[in-house]
């Protein structure tokens, strides 16, 4: 499905990584690990099509992802390490915005807040949420729309043990449905059957 060949990426004249190889079939979970500055975030951004690679290629079912960027964007959930939340909105209003941004069919608010444990907070302003609740809200996007490829950048940050367990369940369920998850994290994350991609320290 997703295939990464000989990928290299550069930021501000510095080569952050090179010769990255990765192959993900339906149902696979990849954990990208490595120290700060090893290029975990950059790798996810390349996979999301935000950054262009310096060398190498990324293909989905044999087709380069930049051949049809709109189609690629429709099949991914990219969740960055900042939450992309506006403190002036409520939880429900945030979900409404994400729906419009994505455009495709989506589930009800409660159905997507339930799995992340925010069902009771639907009308609360985002600025009154704790850091962990904000993280949960940003992960609620995963339940909002179906997208086969999840790209998660440091999804564990500020999550408590229960939150981590909940995310683990969401990932397992997604993989069981035949989805692909690629998550970058420097915290240990206990996931059954996950593949590991270790990035080297920055050059």
């Amino acid at each position: 499905m997703l295939k990464v060949q000989n990928l290299a990426c550069r930021r501000t004249r510095r080569v952050v990584f090179r010769e990255i190889e990765l192959e993900a079939e339906p149902g696979m979970v990849w954990l990208v690990t490595g120290p700060n500055g090893s290029g975990k975030s950059s790798l996810l951004r390349v996979l999301a099509g935000i950054l262009g690679p310096m060398e190498g290629k990324v293909t989905w079912q044999g087709e380069a992802i930049d051949a049809d960027p709109a189609a690629h964007r429709a099949r991914i959930h990219y969740i960055g390490h900042v939450d992309a939340l506006k403190s002036a909105l409520t939880v429900r209003e945030t979900l409404a915005y994400w729906r419009a941004l994505h455009g495709g069919p989506s589930v009800e608010d409660e159905q997507c807040l339930g799995p992340v444990g925010l069902a009771k907070l639907a009308d609360r302003p985002v600025q009154n949420l704790s850091a962990g609740q904000k993280k949960r809200l940003s992960l609620a996007r995963l339940a909002l729309h179906d997208a086969p490829l999840w790209l998660l950048d440091e999804p564990l940050t500020s999550l408590d043990a229960a939150g981590r367990g909940m995310l683990g369940k969401m990932i397992d369920a997604h993989a069981a449905k035949g989805g692909i998850v690629i998550a970058a994290t420097h915290d240990p994350f206990d996931l059954k059957g996950a593949q590991f991609l270790k990035m080297e320290a920055g050059r």
């Binding site: 930021r11 501000t12 004249r13 510095r14 080569v15």
Partner: protein, 239 residues
């Protein structure tokens, strides 16, 4: 055309520049020598402006070069979007200060000419004002381009600004002209041919030629320097 631009690699440019530089230097020296002789000694003073008309032989060519370099930068930036953005960026980065200096020279000589002619160092004349705005366009480009550490992102942002600026130049010129017209009418490029005497046109054209050679010389030298500077940076990054 696109292929041709792709072919302009740094070594190819350097080979070309090494041949062209002496020609430009020789051309500039020759044109300046002849042009200045005509401009200062072998042309009549103007019957109205007197000897101050000789400022024109610097003022007009620097305006032409200043304007021309901006248009060239915008054109190269546009070509850079479809091919060879790195080389296009090197041209723009190298040419911008050269263009800015010629525009500044045009403003200074215009001001020096204005004092005896209009009795004031500065008037908000349509053409002078347009040139002043052009100067700010150069400043904006240079300030923006130098704010980026990353040449790739900087080149894109700079190219976009150049294109927006170039589209705006006719609008600005038109609006400023519409706003005020005090200056004497266009004397040089006027439909139906120039209206100034041949004895003045000759030194003006020779000086303009000299300015072209000189500007090409400066831009090519700066491009060579910029190429070397980037090679050094890259070598340092890879250590």
């Amino acid at each position: 055309m696109k292929m041709m631009w792709k072919l302009i690699s740094p070594p190819a440019f350097n080979r070309f520049a090494d041949k062209a530089l002496p020609l430009c230097a020789g051309g500039a020296v020759l044109a300046f020598a002849i042009g200045l002789y005509y401009a200062l000694f072998n042309s009549p003073p103007d019957y109205q402006q007197g000897e101050t008309v000789r400022i024109m032989y610097i003022h007009v060519p620097s305006a032409m070069i200043g304007m021309g370099i901006y248009v060239a930068m915008a054109a190269v930036a546009a070509i850079g979007f479809v091919s060879n953005p790195a080389m296009a960026d090197i041209f723009c980065v190298a040419a911008a200060p050269v263009g800015a200096v010629f525009v500044a020279l045009c403003l200074v000589t215009g001001s020096l000419w204005g004092e005896p002619t209009w009795g004031t160092w500065w008037v908000w004349d349509a053409r002078l004002t347009s040139v002043l705005i052009l100067f700010f366009l150069y400043c904006g480009y240079m300030a923006l381009r130098h704010s980026f550490d990353d040449d790739f992102r900087g080149s894109r942002a700079g190219a976009i600004l150049l294109l927006v600026g170039a589209v705006n130049i006719p609008i600005i010129k038109f609006s400023v002209k519409w706003w005020h017209t005090l200056h004497q009418g266009e004397t040089f490029f006027r439909p139906g041919g120039p209206s100034i005497a041949d004895s003045m046109l000759r030194p003006l054209l020779i000086m303009a030629l000299g300015f072209c050679f000189y500007a090409a010389l400066l831009v090519m030298l700066r491009m060579k320097t910029e190429l070397l500077a980037r090679r050094i940076e890259r070598a340092r990054d890879e250590e």
